[in-house]
């Protein structure tokens, strides 16, 4: 699994808008405690989708960091 971490909720919502236009399955979750995250929620996707996610979110102009769990 990879967890996408964002600075603010605004970017999570913008990321979701980008992801919704694809078939990527994602899950919005409370940020796991061991990830010191900036905002309370994060997005979880399957590890194999990392490249695709980077491409989609890059296009959507979203800033994020990736944590592998």
């Amino acid at each position: 699994m990879i967890i996408l971490v964002f600075e603010s909720t605004y970017f999570i919502m913008k990321a979701e808008k980008g992801l919704k236009q694809t078939r990527i399955i994602y899950n919005i979750i409370p940020t796991p405690r061991d990830i010191s995250s900036d905002c309370g929620v994060a997005i979880k996707v399957a590890a194999g989708l990392e490249e695709r996610v980077i491409e989609v979110l890059g296009k959507a102009n979203v800033e994020f960091t990736i944590r592998r769990v």
């Binding site: 600075e7 603010s8 909720t9 605004y10 999570i12 919502m13 913008k14 979701e16 808008k17 919005i28 979750i29 409370p30 940020t31 010191s36 900036d38 905002c39 309370g40 929620v41 102009n61």
Partner: protein, 386 residues
């Protein structure tokens, strides 16, 4: 919303009423089915609330032609947004240019700065017909001019300021332009890029058809300092307030139920089309003026018939005080107006009605031809009394 059939509401420049049914439904839905705070907790109700807030930003950005919805900031009203903008540009001993048609929500924060920060203010004259003095405007720039604030549509006379040309001059002078669209958002088309607006200030409860307690700013390639700090749901480990948008300029729990209503109001305008609204309001105000202008006891202020105007009309009846006329319209004819200075003393000075004020009739596209006929008949009736 169905209004009481006897009441004619003609105070839409204060706040529009009635609101579209869908606006009320969206707030009801929020209240019963969403409820939670946006961007604070990780559960699905909170995420749904964040989705509503995000959607409202996207709607607002699209409505005003702003590229990036990250630069839409929600506030409680236009006054709150104006304070954020005016106080967010640093200005020790700076200089600011405004027009003589500004609302107290501009004049008072600037008067405060004048006293505290030695800010100097130039006031560009706008005449009684609403003509903005472009020559005087160009002459008023100084080396320390920090920004210009212009009221796009007069809440007193309905006159419309030539913001595109004003913005053009500001671009040449490299001075940011703040435009107060409290009266024009939802009543005439506005595009931050085409109209050369750097900071757009809107209120949600007038032409945008949202509830009271909503408003905001759109920053078009401008940044502001924040003077209001607190919880944002982001960077909670930091003691310092975040410096990324929109959190930078939004602290504390937002009026999310109101914002849900505002977003629906904007969608509603989009669905009927702004041009339809413009045409309807033009038609109604023309009918109103035509019904009053031949009575020589009625004095009508503002733009003449060849000029554009909003659905706002200020008038007086000779030898009758505005407050008495307003009270008769309410008590005898169930017509709601606003009398006095309309929070814009400079504007009344410009049209020669300070300090007595005027009676203001202000329409929305929800008004009907029948409303206009009743208003015309009532005002003429009062004017013709000895």
């Amino acid at each position: 919303m169905k209004k009481n059939s006897d009441t004619i509401y003609a105070d839409n420049a204060a706040t529009t009423w009635p609101k579209p049914q869908c606006v009320i439904e969206s707030m009801r839905n929020f209240f019963f089915n969403v409820g939670a705070n946006p961007g604070r907790s990780g559960h699905r109700m909170s995420v749904n609330s964040a989705r509503i807030l995000f959607d409202a930003r996207e709607e607002t950005a699209a409505f005003f032609g702003l590229d990036n919805s990250q630069n839409v900031v929600f506030t409680l009203n236009a006054t709150h947004a104006l304070n954020i903008a005016i106080r967010g540009i640093p200005k020790k001993e700076g200089h600011v240019i405004i027009s003589s048609f500004e609302h107290n929500s501009v004049i008072r924060p600037l008067t405060y700065l004048k006293e505290k920060e030695k800010t100097t203010i130039s006031v560009v004259p706008v005449d009684c017909k609403g003509n903005f003095d472009m020559t005087e405007f160009k002459k008023s720039f100084r080396d320390n001019t920090q920004f210009v604030v212009i009221n796009h549509g007069s809440n007193v006379t309905g006159a419309i300021a030539p913001i595109r040309q004003i913005g053009h001059v500001c671009k040449e002078k490299k001075v940011p332009l703040i435009v107060d669209v409290a009266q024009t958002a939802g009543t005439i088309p506005i595009n931050v890029k085409k109209d050369n607006i750097d900071i757009l200030i809107f209120t949600g409860h007038k032409g945008l058809m949202g509830p009271q307690g909503t408003g905001g700013l759109c920053l078009n390639n401008e940044s502001l300092q924040s003077f209001f700090h607190g919880g944002t749901g982001s960077s909670s480990q930091e003691e310092r307030h975040p410096d990324f948008m929109p959190d930078k300029l939004e602290a504390g729990t937002p009026n999310i139920i109101g914002i849900a209503g505002l977003a629906t109001g904007i969608k509603y305008l989009r669905s009927i089309g702004l041009n339809t609204i413009v045409e309807k309001e033009k038609f109604l105000i023309k009918k109103l003026i035509n019904g009053l202008r031949d009575n020589d006891k009625i004095i009508i202020y503002g733009p003449d018939s060849r000029q554009e105007r909003l659905g706002i009309l200020s008038f007086n009846i000779k030898n009758k005080a505005a407050d008495i006329v307003g009270d008769l319209l309410d008590k005898e004819f169930s017509i709601m107006t606003r009398v006095g200075l309309h929070c814009a003393p400079y504007a009344h000075k410009s049209i020669g009605t300070f300090p007595a004020g005027t009676v203001r009739l202000s329409l929305s596209f929800m008004n009907t031809e029948n409303d206009i006929a009743k208003i015309v008949s009532a005002v003429n009736n009062i004017a013709d009394r000895s």
